[in-house]
Symmetry: C2
Subunit: 584 residues, 2 copies
């Protein structure tokens, strides 16, 4: 009776979780802690006996919990929001993450743990808990205040950086060590993957969802959303990234669809069910003996998390030009670790590179810091008042001046406008080159499938390479054309701009040089890029020439159609990004 055992497990999990969370909610403690305690109660390490029969199936469901947690986080993410938060979020998040990883690593070294344990500890301490913070701010009724908006911004940036951390740690764990070059390659590939999937995702997914939603059947929309979510996770697993990354990315893509509110409403119960199972399994894994045994590291970690995060986030926020009170409130709101630490701890265990004690230490530190979060937020105001009283007047004046200097908006000069145009064009060129790279990398991965039989007079390997290389080039052409045209336009602007002040006649030559050299330079960059990325599928020289001739002829024929196609794609992308979302 496998099914009966499974239903029994679910019954125990849900009943105990339900009861404990009601008690926790009654005493105004976070529900998440209730789940973990429920797991501890029914777990194998506490009397009277383990209540869970089929730990494997429950662990599999907990994996779904991670998927849905990250997916929801992605749904709440939005490119527009990220732009609005601006500099503060990026500065504060970077300060916090760098400092915390370093502190965590040093703690590990201090307790003479091995390098991998120390690094994973650092990563675990780096990211604050969105769930806990949102919940605490909701209960204190502070969600609308300015410091809360800053905190949400920092959390969004953290989520993105966390994706990078997960990718780096995975690659590190698999390869044992990582050079700066490898790290750069990993992050480069990650960026490429994120850009490409965002572009194609936002081009395709919102339209698909719009179509399915037009049937007005919640069930079909839900199944489609789940299919896309799991399907994308599967793709990401095949590319050897973590499933957490995939779930977050597809969530962020769906966040740009009109039906986002409805999707959030439909996915919430499913997420609540599986994330409850996820948090309960964290408790299941928890052995109180380990925590007692490692009481000293737990205390050190907890203290470092609280102090380190308060200091780094406050300073980061202050440096980005906010006042002292706001900065301190941001810092004290961020002083805890949560679900992300568990995900990273689980990653270490799954990959088999971390020791068994890391998980319980992270959970214990998370429990203590989570419990303290509301009190820390409430303590921020008195503390800031007391600091203000003790800070020398000159220092206060300096910070005030600094903030005002940063916040003063730059004059709306021509050069500022020009800079904004350059920035935008360069971003567009970058995105287009990412897409081109993706086609050639994908082509390289398809080598060896032998889909189409070669003609008799041709070498089979050469034939396949020619096909793949030619297709990649043909698919890339709309984007290459766009890159070239944008470079041309930019070089004209650059030529005009850089010869300002020089008499017209004298500047003529320089203008011509710039406006012609820059596009040629770009062609060289493109050729090198294709040569490098398409190296694996480049056929022999004679064949290459032939392929180039054929593709060239095709591109020349389809040039205007390619230009129009790219234009429509760009417009469609912009429209999707700026469209209003339906209320539900």
């Amino acid at each position: 009776m496998h099914a009966a055992a499974f239903i029994q497990d679910l019954a125990v999990i849900m009943l105990v979780a339900g009861m404990v969370t009601i008690v926790f909610h009654r005493f105004k403690q976070p529900v998440v802690l209730g789940y973990i305690l429920a797991g501890l109660i029914i777990g194998p390490h506490t009397p009277p006996f383990p209540f869970i029969h089929d730990q494997d199936t429950i662990n599999t469901l907990a994996e779904l919990g991670i998927v849905f947690l990250m997916f929801s986080l992605g749904l709440e993410f939005s490119l527009r929001k990220l732009r609005a938060v601006g500099a503060t979020a990026i500065v504060a998040a970077l300060t916090e993450i760098v400092l915390m990883i370093w502190l965590g690593y040093e703690i590990g070294r201090y307790f003479s743990w091995n390098t991998m344990d120390s690094l994973f500890l650092g990563a675990m301490l780096a990211i604050s808990s969105t769930t806990i913070i949102v919940k605490a701010l909701e209960e204190l009724d502070m969600k609308r205040e300015r410091f809360a908006q800053l905190i949400f911004g920092i959390l969004i940036v953290e989520d993105i950086l966390a994706i990078g951390i997960i990718a780096l740690l995975s690659s590190l764990a698999v390869n044992g060590s990582i050079s700066t070059l490898d790290a750069a390659a990993t992050l480069g590939k990650l960026t490429l993957f994120m850009v490409v999937s965002l572009v194609f995702g936002i081009l395709l997914v919102p339209h698909l969802l719009q179509y399915v939603a037009s049937f007005k059947r919640d069930e079909m929309l839900l199944i489609t959303v789940l299919g896309l979510c799991f399907g994308f996770c599967l793709l990401v697993i095949k590319l050897e990234y973590s499933v957490a990354l995939g779930a977050f990315m597809i969530g962020a893509i769906m966040a740009e669809s009109r039906q986002i509110k409805l999707i959030e409403r439909l996915i919430k119960p499913v997420r609540d069910m599986f994330s409850a199972i996820f948090f309960v399994t964290i408790g299941l894994l928890l052995d109180p003996n380990t925590i007692i045994q490692y009481a000293q590291p737990v205390m050190v970690v907890t203290l470092v998390v609280i102090l380190g995060k308060i200091i780094s986030c406050s300073l980061g926020t202050l440096a980005a030009g906010n006042d002292g009170r706001t900065s301190l409130r941001v810092g004290m709101g961020m002083a805890q670790i949560g679900e992300f630490s568990f995900i990273i701890a689980a990653l270490g265990l799954t990959l088999g590179v971390t020791s068994h004690f890391l998980y319980p230490i992270a959970v214990a530190a998370s429990v203590i810091t989570t419990l303290l979060t509301p009190y820390l937020i409430k303590a921020a105001d008195p503390l800031s008042a007391s600091i203000t009283r003790h800070v020398p007047a000159r220092m206060a004046a300096f910070f005030d001046l600094y903030a005002r200097w940063l916040q003063s908006s730059p004059p709306e000069s021509d050069s500022a406008l020009l800079a904004s145009i350059y920035r935008k064009t360069l971003l567009q060129i970058f995105v287009n080159l990412c897409l081109v790279s993706a086609f050639f990398i994908a082509g390289s991965h398809l080598l060896g499938l032998h889909w189409i039989k070669p003609p008799a007079w041709m070498n089979s390997v050469d034939w396949e390479k020619a096909l793949l290389w030619g297709s990649a080039l043909l698919l890339s052409s709309p984007f290459l054309i766009a890159v070239f045209r944008k470079t041309q336009a930019m070089s004209l602007l650059l030529a005009d701009h850089s010869t300002q002040g020089i008499p017209w006649n004298e500047g003529e030559k320089l203008r011509k040089l710039i406006s012609q050299a820059v596009p040629v330079l770009m062609l060289l960059v493109i050729a090198l890029l294709i040569g490098w990325l398409g190296h694996g599928i480049q056929p022999s020289w004679q064949v290459l020439m032939m392929v180039l001739l054929i593709t060239g002829a095709l591109v020349a024929l389809l040039w205007r159609w390619f230009v129009r196609l790219h234009y429509h794609m760009q417009i469609s992308l912009m429209e999707t990004l700026s469209q209003e979302k339906d209320e539900h």
Copy 2:
């Protein structure tokens, strides 16, 4: 990477299900058929290869699909609705089920299948598909018409009877054969279980949900609902009933809570997800070769389902006093089989008593009849017009007279009022006796646990029996007192009523006899009931006397408190049943 395989399976299921259902919806075919086809496509019996890696885990999730399907059906069920539909639903449902089981059994015998296969086939054909009918009526925009209301009533009654069928089939499958006495005992126990769990469920669950909902956190309410649902299913499994019964019952209990709309909204996405998996696994199990091999039985079954259901439901509805057109529309709406047939087919496979070909036959017949449902409903009106033209005028006149005779409401006489009072009181006595029986049966099941050490001067078995028997009696007392008081009141009424017309003096003696004899008779019934059900835990005579003395003294002491307690419970139950539900 177990989790990766699992996510791959889910991705394949959801993606294919999503695509096929979109196509099906586009061509206005039921989504459920899309799921089954999706399962067939990715299943092991169709080329190119099986897409599902971990069939076991998927089957476990499909089991959850049954739980959530039946739970939702229970949520839509309501004791009040059942009362409103009245006689038509009961007559039509009984006619249909009896005829279809008999027809199914005869088909099996005709194809010389064994008894168990034939019986399960009968059961599979008995119940029409709520999902399909609701969907078809929604799409034809006929949900508000009178015949649709009648259909929903019949479906509710069918759901209850189906529970009985499942219980009987399970017990039949386990024991190999079943005598009339066994069948009566099975149904008796089932009724007892349903009454007791409805009473205690409706007393406790809506209040608990009200309390949890007062926190205004959807997540906590969902977890509590899931905990109660799985917990009750677990209890039901331990009592060796099917999980489908448990899910339906706890759903029906929750249907009486104020938060029913919110609960339905929260549970719907979870149900949609798991029921999609359930329907896809039906397709997974489907082997097209089997269907081709058994094409003849499939066609016979399909034909019998359509004709049998049209005739039985139409006649049943007609016999309950509806006009010919309505009756025919009801009959043609009910002419299909669906999810219940799959559940019963799965039951047969799980218990290992049916042959492998039964499942695909049921699925094939369900697919064909489901596809025909909308056309049949639409054909009802022309058909009824054509029948009217060909029916002899005298026969039509007779049916018209019959319907009018049935629908004419009985005069509001004293005796009708009296009859209603008797009926109500007898129902209350029945429910109370059910509760008493439950305490003694539960006591018998607890024998042998040795919770409390016996005193030195007492036999250990006798001590335990005394404790259990005494506790059962004490717990039963409020209900026994209520039964006794209600019997007294009824006997006075009966005495008055039955001596009407006899002169006061002459009737005096008879009145006294009746008003005293009936309660004594009831005491005798109670003593026999307790003697019978408590037989297993009845201690030796000396100990029994002692226990009776002690319990008697306690009951005498607590008499008034017991009366008040019972009164409050009764009021609370009535209030819950009649309360308005919150809109959401």
